[in-house]
């Protein structure tokens, strides 16, 4: 965002953005680690730790959507929460504009949160059942000292913007369907005119017909409010639809990042390829002609992650080196990074590589 564009942003701006240009990242995340202690015994002594997020780094540019995908337990939600310090990161830095969010005081963090907002997965759990909608949406403004009269008007506008009626403000969350509640959650996140919204599985609790409505709404408000999104989801089709760039996570680490075209057309990490090949496509003819690589087993426990490359226990093209040495994220093309010692070439399929190695992968063709 240019300095002039920042100028017309309303008075609730924290100011952190004023000297950022469009070609510079809005959010810089470096080596972020989040550990949870494992406690046991009468005194809840710590006997170990789970590294839910291990050394994650990425940049988020203005008005961009970065998709974060992975299976349950890969750390994608923990990552989202650590960015906003809803969970205190163990180490690493998150820089918003020029300011280090991880070093901000409690008071300063509260101010920063007007620029960094979040929408949660479960629209039933994330809205206080005892508050009317106007208070739920208006609460952030109250906290940040917006005059009451103005706040009231803005709540009405926001509700209208997300496809509800201003008079819905008097109702309580239980009077709304799942899709409408998610709209309320979005209205709340917009209340302080943020720059970045972390969306944690925003549509996974919704039916398909409603999911499309909410995805379209997110698209519209992104342009209108000049927002950057971090879109966390397990549904790869949804992520392809919404994201400009995508990061694939496995057991706490980013294994591949690329722009959406590259990631979906020529995934270079064996995990990305098998993940994509696992997703069923709603087209019977394409489905019949597809060959699906079946990964063996389940995701290992993050309390005791495998040595070397964390994917090596399930990887069909694993080599000796993968068990010893942990691969680093390396650039293989512009904007395309992969953490794999034996990354796949553009156009090369995991199946071909497996056969080349003289191994049999379990393949399903439906």
């Amino acid at each position: 965002m240019s300095p002039d564009a920042a100028a017309d942003v309303t008075a609730y701006d924290s100011g952190a953005l004023d000297d950022i240009r469009a070609d510079e990242p809005l959010l810089k995340v470096r080596d972020l680690v989040k550990e949870f202690p494992i406690r046991a015994g009468v005194f809840r002594r710590q006997i170990g730790q789970v590294q839910a997020v291990t050394g994650v780094s990425f940049d988020l540019y203005p008005m961009e959507t970065l998709g974060i995908v992975g299976e349950s337990g890969c750390g994608k939600s923990t990552l989202g929460r650590s960015l906003l310090r809803l969970l205190e990161p163990t180490s690493g830095t998150v820089t918003f504009g020029t300011e280090d969010v991880t070093a901000a005081s409690k008071h300063r963090l509260r101010e920063l949160r007007s620029d960094l907002q979040m929408v949660f997965q479960d629209p039933y759990a994330s809205l206080n059942p005892r508050l009317p909608i106007r208070d739920i949406v208006g609460e952030p403004m109250q906290i940040h000292g917006v005059p009451k009269k103005e706040a009231r008007e803005r709540v009405g506008d926001l509700l209208q913007r997300v496809g509800l009626l201003p008079e819905h403000g008097n109702r309580y969350p239980h009077e709304f369907s799942g899709g409408q509640r998610q709209r309320i959650g979005i209205a709340r996140s917009l209340a302080l005119r943020p720059k970045v919204i972390v969306l944690d599985e925003p549509v996974s609790a919704l039916d398909v017909s409603i999911q499309a409505q909410v995805l379209n709404l997110l698209d519209e408000i992104q342009t209108e409010y000049e927002l950057s999104f971090i879109f966390i989801a397990h549904d790869l089709s949804v992520v392809r639809h919404t994201s400009d760039r995508v990061a694939v996570m496995y057991l706490g680490r980013i294994v591949e990042t690329a722009n959406r075209q590259d990631l979906y057309e020529s995934p270079a990490h064996p995990y990305s390829q098998s993940l994509l090949s696992s997703v069923p496509i709603a087209d019977p003819r394409r489905e019949r002609s597809r060959k699906r690589i079946l990964l063996q087993g389940d995701v290992p426990s993050p309390a005791n992650p495998p040595s070397g490359c964390r994917f090596h226990t399930r990887c069909p093209i694993v080599q000796e080196r993968c068990k010893q040495e942990q691969p680093k994220l390396q650039q293989i093309a512009v904007g395309h990074q992969v953490a794999c010692h034996f990354a796949l070439q553009p156009g090369e399929t995991l199946l071909e590589r497996t056969e080349q190695l003289g191994r049999g992968a379990q393949v399903a063709s439906s």
Partner: protein
């Protein structure tokens, strides 16, 4: 396939004729009595399942797909009224006395539930639970039943089945638990498997494994399957025939290709158009406006009318009849014959 040899140990014999339907549901309706009034969760649904085929029942939450399955197993609580006929093996399941239906459940018709953690008993080992399921219906010794359990677990791809059989559900991962559920469901060689959202709780890579197991098991045993799901991708990959439900009614039925490529129902078409595609990107998703109707107070005429882009005044007046299009294809829409099937998402 190696499964076939294993299965000769497991199964007895199947002597069902391919021409006769295995299950014939005729005009079934299910209502729940609630304090707020009667809720009709299933309205006049009729369908058939032939031996060996996979019928997918798709719909959004509240469309009545799970209620249909539970009703034909007679698994509903007392405040439920089920009318119509469910013919299975020459018997109407809805009239059968309780002891008889109990001998059919788990033996001839078995069910796989969405959440294996709540469907399995946490205080018994997985093996004990499957042994119990076998011994309820068969006069076999514990040792023989246990041996069969180990075979079954191997069949569904549980590694080290001997050791795993003695473990408890909490020691299994989600995917393994669902495999154990499948093993339990097929332990008495059922003629019909009802799988209610069998992979919804699982990650995609594990979902692919479990669907493959279901597929193999179903192919090897020759049992029919009713696959209840909201995921049109799963349907595309595994169903022979599909029926689409919306607000308690059957909206359209047909072969998988007819539903995906030649749909004659505005709801089916809108549903297909609203899914983001994994292999291409469109600017804007074609969403369906509004919300599904409340079953307590359904709209007059066609339930999809308030959200339908094609609706005409006639739609508010009467619930459309199912219009047949040859074969099994039928659509519940006043305009079914006018829909241009050469356009659409997949066309």
């Amino acid at each position: 396939m190696g499964y076939a040899t294993l299965l000769t140990l497991v199964r007895g014999m199947s002597g069902t004729e391919m021409s006769e339907p295995l299950l014939k549901v005729d005009d079934m309706s299910v209502s729940f009595k609630t304090d707020a009034g009667d809720v009709r969760a299933v309205s006049n649904v009729s369908f058939e399942i032939s031996p060996g085929e996979v019928l997918a029942v798709v719909g959004e939450s509240g469309s009545g797909k799970s209620v249909t399955a539970l009703a034909l197993m007679r698994l509903h609580p007392k405040n439920t009224e089920t009318t119509g006929q469910v013919m299975f093996d020459g018997m109407n399941l809805l009239d059968l006395p309780e002891p008889q239906i109990r001998s059919i459940r788990g033996r001839d018709i078995a069910m796989i539930f969405q959440d294996p953690m709540t469907a399995l008993n946490p205080v018994f080992s997985v093996g004990e639970q499957i042994v119990e399921a076998i011994r309820i219906h068969n006069d076999v010794s514990k040792a023989d039943a246990w041996a069969k359990v180990v075979d079954l677990l191997q069949l569904v791809g549980v590694p080290e089945p001997k050791q795993r059989a003695a473990q408890y559900p909490h020691e299994y991962s989600g995917g393994m638990r669902q495999r154990a559920m499948i093993a339990m469901a097929i332990c008495n060689d059922p003629k019909l498997l009802i799988a209610d959202e069998p992979t919804t709780a699982l990650d995609v890579t594990v979902q692919a494994q479990v669907m493959e197991v279901l597929h193999d098991v179903q192919e090897a045993t020759g049992s029919a399957m009713m696959l209840i799901t909201h995921d049109l991708g799963l349907v595309a990959g595994s169903a022979d025939r599909v029926q689409v439900m919306y607000a308690s009614r059957l909206m359209e039925r047909g072969s998988t290709d007819e539903i995906f490529y030649e749909s004659r129902n505005p709801y089916t078409r809108a549903l297909l158009a609203s899914i983001p595609d994994l292999e291409s990107v469109k600017d804007k998703l074609d969403s369906i406006p509004g919300n599904p109707p409340s079953l307590l107070n359904p709209p007059s005429g066609c339930a999809f009318r308030p959200r339908c882009s094609m609706s005409v005044p006639q739609c508010a007046e009467a619930v459309p009849e199912l219009v047949a299009f040859g074969g099994n294809h039928a659509s519940r829409c006043h305009l079914a014959t006018e829909i241009d099937i050469t356009t659409g998402v997949n066309a």
